[in-house]
């Protein structure tokens, strides 16, 4: 039972806060000798496995680090092209970590704006007038819950499908936003939220929600 991420989207559809609460489990680090038996290709500025599955490394996994040093897109940390680096037998044996590529912050921004538009489409598609936008989106791996306030801010929580109490959590996040973001006079409205207290209290609320607690008057 887990809460995976929290997104906060402002009135214009821009992402102003994002928090990931999950540890990607599908990562594998292995030592390889020349020649590499996996076929790699460049996709979306990342090096991904296009053919060859073994030992937990699947097709579509991205190359995350070489010899313990995180890579930078299709280049190593010192700026060498990864594909070229791995064609050179003198660089072997090499220890490579593969895993499901995490979303970059630009991708998250784009997805949040897209969700903002889809949310509006949800209310327009409705056969009845005055429908709300998308409130829940379900897949087999997670459920996305969305709460839009009367002022147009959206709070989005991605959680395990079996997790309950997300409605209360969304309202709690709204309270935390109205306290630690809005009451901070140095925070400007509609801008990215960079408030320590907001982060801390949000993490606390997620912990309470994961333990299936209720937000009673004392919390």
């Amino acid at each position: 039972m887990a809460i995976f991420s929290v997104y906060v989207v402002n009135k214009a559809g821009g992402l102003i806060y994002q928090f990931d609460n999950y540890v990607p489990r599908a990562e594998a680090e292995k030592t390889f000798s020349y020649p590499l038996d996996l076929v790699l290709k460049i996709h979306d500025e990342k090096v991904v496995v296009s053919f060859g599955q073994r030992d937990g490394i699947r097709v579509g996994h991205a190359l995350l680090s070489i010899n313990g040093v995180d890579v930078n897109g299709k280049f190593t940390a010192d700026g060498k092209e990864i594909i070229e680096y791995l064609k050179d037998s003198t660089n072997y044996p090499v220890s490579i970590r593969f895993g499901r590529a995490r979303l970059s912050s630009n991708e998250k921004l784009m997805l949040a704006s897209m969700f903002h538009s889809l949310f509006a489409i949800g209310s327009q598609l409705s056969p009845e007038v005055g429908s709300s936008g998308i409130e829940m989106l379900e897949t087999d791996m997670f459920k996305l819950h969305c709460f839009q306030t009367l002022t147009g801010i959206k709070f989005i929580v991605l959680a395990d499908p079996r997790q309950s109490g997300i409605d209360a959590l969304l309202r709690k996040i709204y309270e935390i936003y109205s306290d630690f973001a809005l009451k901070n006079p140095f925070y400007s409205l509609e801008m990215p939220i960079r408030c320590e207290l907001f982060d801390q209290n949000l993490k606390g609320a997620l912990e309470i929600a994961e333990k299936a607690g209720n937000f009673g008057p004392g919390s």
Partner: protein
């Protein structure tokens, strides 16, 4: 609990006199800085506006009031829920215009002006103008453009304090999806 707990409605009691003193210090400093009552009124309104746009989220988060369907409902919510929550007073809603787009809030008491007397050289100062800005800012965030001003002010010799609120229009730009 290590973080400040302020979820219960009145667990953090503050001295209202400190509040009155703080507001008074604010107004007198503005008077010294601007030396012109009209300018001070404008600044108070602006400050109130900035407070209002933030206060509305706090109000909505804590009160779970839904969207008001018409201006009468708005008036009731403002008088009975919002004023009660933030100032501890419940003004009465009266003097509806025939078109239903203007009403008055009559405040018997005003926590901002406890112990305050306006001197003669500040006769055009609207001491509690912050409240007008707060109401204007808060309603603008829920897509209502309103005009708020003091029709009567007990500091300036009237019997009661009367805030006149006029509905101008619904703000159609940037409507949250799902409200038409």
């Amino acid at each position: 609990m290590s973080r400040q707990s302020n979820r219960t409605t009145d667990s953090k009691k503050m001295n209202s006199e400190l509040f009155t003193l703080t507001y008074g210090a604010l107004v007198t400093q503005l008077c010294k800085d601007y030396e012109n009552d009209e300018e001070v009124n404008k600044q108070l309104d602006k400050m109130g506006y900035n407070i209002g746009v933030r206060l509305i989220e706090d109000f909505l988060a804590r009160s779970s009031v839904g969207r008001c369907q018409d201006f009468r409902e708005t008036a009731d919510v403002i008088a009975k829920v919002a004023f009660k929550m933030y100032l501890g007073i419940t003004p009465s809603v009266t003097n509806w215009s025939p078109a239903g787009d203007e009403f008055s809030l009559i405040l018997e008491s005003n926590p901002l002006v406890d112990f305050v007397e306006l001197p003669d050289n500040h006769s055009t100062l609207v001491y509690s103008n912050l409240l007008c800005g707060v109401l204007r800012g808060a309603l603008e965030m829920v897509q209502m453009a309103v005009d708020v001003k003091f029709a009567q002010d007990s500091l300036r010799g009237d019997n009661v304090t009367e805030i006149r609120m006029k509905f101008i229009k619904r703000i159609e730009e940037n409507l949250p999806a799902g409200d038409e």
